[in-house]
């Protein structure tokens, strides 16, 4: 959808939400605000899978904006633009 940010859900988030993506009207928002809006839109809570109680990133959470981890940018304050793709991974591992 033009003017929206694509938020994609993986791992346990996808199972919780029973969907793999949402188009969120989030141009100019910080990632934290984008996520809150996505949660409202999804109609089910999911932020507890990726954020801690102080609303920081849970250890092991991976949030990529256009493939770049927000921990290497401005964290949850990283701004997104229309057309961006945000990948959300709850903590996961293997090997």
């Amino acid at each position: 959808m033009a003017g929206t940010v694509e938020v994609r859900f993986y791992a346990l988030l996808r199972r919780r939400l029973e969907r793999s993506a949402l188009a969120v009207d989030g141009d100019g928002l910080a990632v934290l605000d984008l996520l809150s809006r996505a949660e409202q839109q999804a109609g089910r809570p999911f932020l507890d899978e990726i954020l801690d109680r102080g609303r920081g990133l849970l250890n092991g959470t991976m949030i990529l904006v256009n493939g770049e981890n927000i921990r290497l940018k401005q964290g949850l304050a990283t701004r997104v633009r229309a057309g961006d793709v945000v990948d959300l991974f709850s903590p996961a591992g293997g090997g």
Binding site: Y10, L64, G67, D87, A92, G95
Partner: protein, 589 residues
């Protein structure tokens, strides 16, 4: 004795002679067990490099001081010189065979010599018996295990080879507990060269615990830590290891078509999420493991275990294949025939690029899902194109004049993380003592997954120090012997506390890490004796010179040279990669 059984038996299959190998308290304290003690004993028993398939070469089946105690302690390590790489090698497997071997009263079993006819070893508290394997030799791993299990009873655990090991394929695996595998480095071929089909272990000896109350409390703490951790307590249980497919692909470092790209367009179709909703029958778990990362699956035709992440990649993106059932069936075939899935898949990918380039006209094509299981069969039985695939990628690519197309380090194929996407992982591949392996220092944890802290994957700063530390911790876990996945939930202090409650010996964190450093340095010495030098601590030129043009790891190459000197310095090795006299003295080597 607490923790250890205090007994290691060596048997010569040529002469039938067996004896106890004396190991003192000091050596146990310095090398622990498993990988560490195994490498120490191997180095003493085989001081000069031997042909890995020669009768006089030794192969060691090792347990550790924690084997048969806390969660995940059913594992064992197999140590020898690798026929794939020529390096020292230890290969680890889960299930319950390690616990069974220890319950037979052994810390380790050393096998040398070559039997005249196929045999298997039956190990119990009464001793080690050599038994005729007529009727078992030639069987795939599952019927072989079943037949031996029927003879030995339900409590016994069997570790065996399949046709690939019998045919001396240099990346043949050892399978136990049906589908658990000591996969890497060709330990199955070392068994095959000895005419040794299997080791069957059973017993009733319990590991003595020094501090039962402390041990019980430690067990509860461990339960809580593993349960509370989102990776061990949730993700691995629900989605298994293949949850990594989408993660690594999103980071642009999911090796595709022999590492020519870092993004596989069909990643979703072979992801852990997809497996959970398609092939998965149930999760499966090793001895006393609450995590249960294993996947019991079925296709329309067959059922079995897997695929795990590395195998999904090796038979999937690496070959341009997105048919999940074909990947699973190739995995089942590797398990049945006794082959390492990583080297098998990687070698097929190398073959596909060789064919595409015109260097080889064997007709292997990207995306040819329908022929995967057949190529695996051909490799194990050394027929058709399998004769060449059984060389492994390094020898195969060299044979057809394009050594640069083998994605290997020291002859071992690197797994499912493109090193251009994680500089620390790249250094770990280059310096691993058994070649291109992710298990010597799993730098994906901090560089991608953010455990225990998040590190910038493209930076080289501090990476030599962290790779060395991760290598040392890995050596400790492999020597105790436990599952690496515990590392998501607990740190080195928990390991040293566990060791204290079991053995009664007060290992501080420092002493434990020094033991890990000692093991890594000893492995270095063994490899130097075998002729390995700094020149071998490198990566295929693709990773040093060629950039991806797309994906989030684009425009990157591995900056190995700027890390290697520092790594050697951190290790106390000279600029040529040789441990200095001061380092050897400090570690008592």
């Amino acid at each position: 004795m607490n923790g250890w059984m205090g007994r290691i038996v060596t048997i010569d299959l040529g002469s039938g002679r067996q004896e106890e190998l004396p190991v003192g308290d000091e050596m146990r304290r310095r090398y622990l067990g498993g990988r560490g003690l195994g490498v120490r004993l191997y180095s003493d028993l085989c001081p000069q490099p031997l042909d890995p398939l020669a009768p006089e070469n030794a192969i060691l089946f090792m347990t550790g001081p924690l084997t048969g105690t806390v969660m995940t302690s059913g594992r064992f390590q197999v140590v020898s010189r690798s026929p794939l790489t020529g390096t020292i090698c230890d290969s680890s497997s889960g299930g319950s065979f390690g616990a069974a071997l220890k319950s037979a009263g052994l810390d380790g079993l050393v096998v040398r010599g070559r039997a005249e006819r196929p045999v298997y070893l039956a190990v119990s508290p009464a001793g080690v018996e050599v038994r005729d394997a007529a009727g078992i030799w030639g069987l795939n791993t599952q019927p072989a295990q079943k037949a031996l299990q029927e003879r030995a009873g339900a409590k016994a655990s069997v570790a065996c080879i399949g046709p690939a090991g019998e045919n001396l394929v240099p990346f043949a695996a050892i399978l136990n507990d049906r589908d658990r595998a000591a996969g890497r480095g060709g330990m199955g071929a070392v068994m095959g060269a000895k005419n040794l089909k299997a080791v069957v272990a059973a017993g009733d000896r319990a590991t003595a615990i020094a501090d039962p109350e402390g041990y019980r409390e430690m067990g509860l703490r461990l339960d809580r830590a593993v349960d509370k951790n989102p990776v061990t307590g949730k993700s691995l249980q629900v989605l298994g290891t293949s949850v990594l497919v989408n993660i690594v692909n999103a980071h642009g470092m999911f090796p595709t078509e022999n590492f020519r790209r870092g993004v596989f367009n069909d990643a979703e179709g072979i992801s852990g999420e997809k497996i959970a909703e398609s092939l998965l029958l149930r999760q499966s778990a090793c001895y006393k493991c609450p995590i249960g990362c294993g996947r019991t699956t079925r296709t329309r035709n067959k059922s079995g275990e897997g695929p795990e992440y590395e195998t999904v990649w090796a038979f999937g993106a690496h070959l341009g294949v997105s048919d999940l059932a074909a990947i699973a069936e190739a995995n089942y075939a590797c398990n049945e025939l006794g082959l390492d899935t990583i080297t098998m898949g990687s070698t097929i990918g190398c073959a596909m690029e060789l064919c595409e380039s015109g260097a080889w006209d064997a007709g292997l094509r990207w995306g040819d899902a329908g022929r995967l299981a057949g190529w695996v069969e051909d490799t194990a039985h050394l027929r058709g194109v399998g004769v060449d695939l059984a060389l492994g990628s390094k020898r195969l690519a060299a044979k057809f004049g394009k050594p640069e197309l083998a994605m290997q380090v020291k002859g071992m194929e690197i797994p499912a993380y493109d090193p251009r996407g994680a500089q620390g992982m790249a250094l770990a591949y280059a310096t691993s003592s058994r070649g291109g392996c992710h298990m010597r220092a799993y730098m994906i944890m901090p560089e991608v997954l953010g455990h225990p802290v998040f590190l910038d994957r493209f930076s080289t700063a501090g990476k030599p120090e962290i790779v060395a530390l991760f290598q040392d911790i890995a050596a400790v876990v492999d020597s105790l012997v436990l599952c690496r996945f515990l590392q998501f939930a607990v740190g080195i202090s928990t390991l040293s506390e566990m060791l204290r409650t079991v053995t009664g010996l007060d290992f501080g964190d420092e002493e434990l890490l020094r033991a890990g450093r000692r093991v890594n340095t000893l492995e270095r010495l063994v490899n130097i004796r075998a002729g390995f030098t700094r020149a071998d601590d490198t990566l295929p030129p693709r990773f040093l010179n060629e950039e991806f043009q797309t994906g989030s790891s684009r425009h990157r190459v591995v900056r190995l040279e700027e890390m290697l000197d520092r790594y050697y310095a951190v290790r106390g090795w000279d600029p040529l990669g040789k441990p200095t006299a001061a380092t050897l003295a400090e570690l008592g080597l």
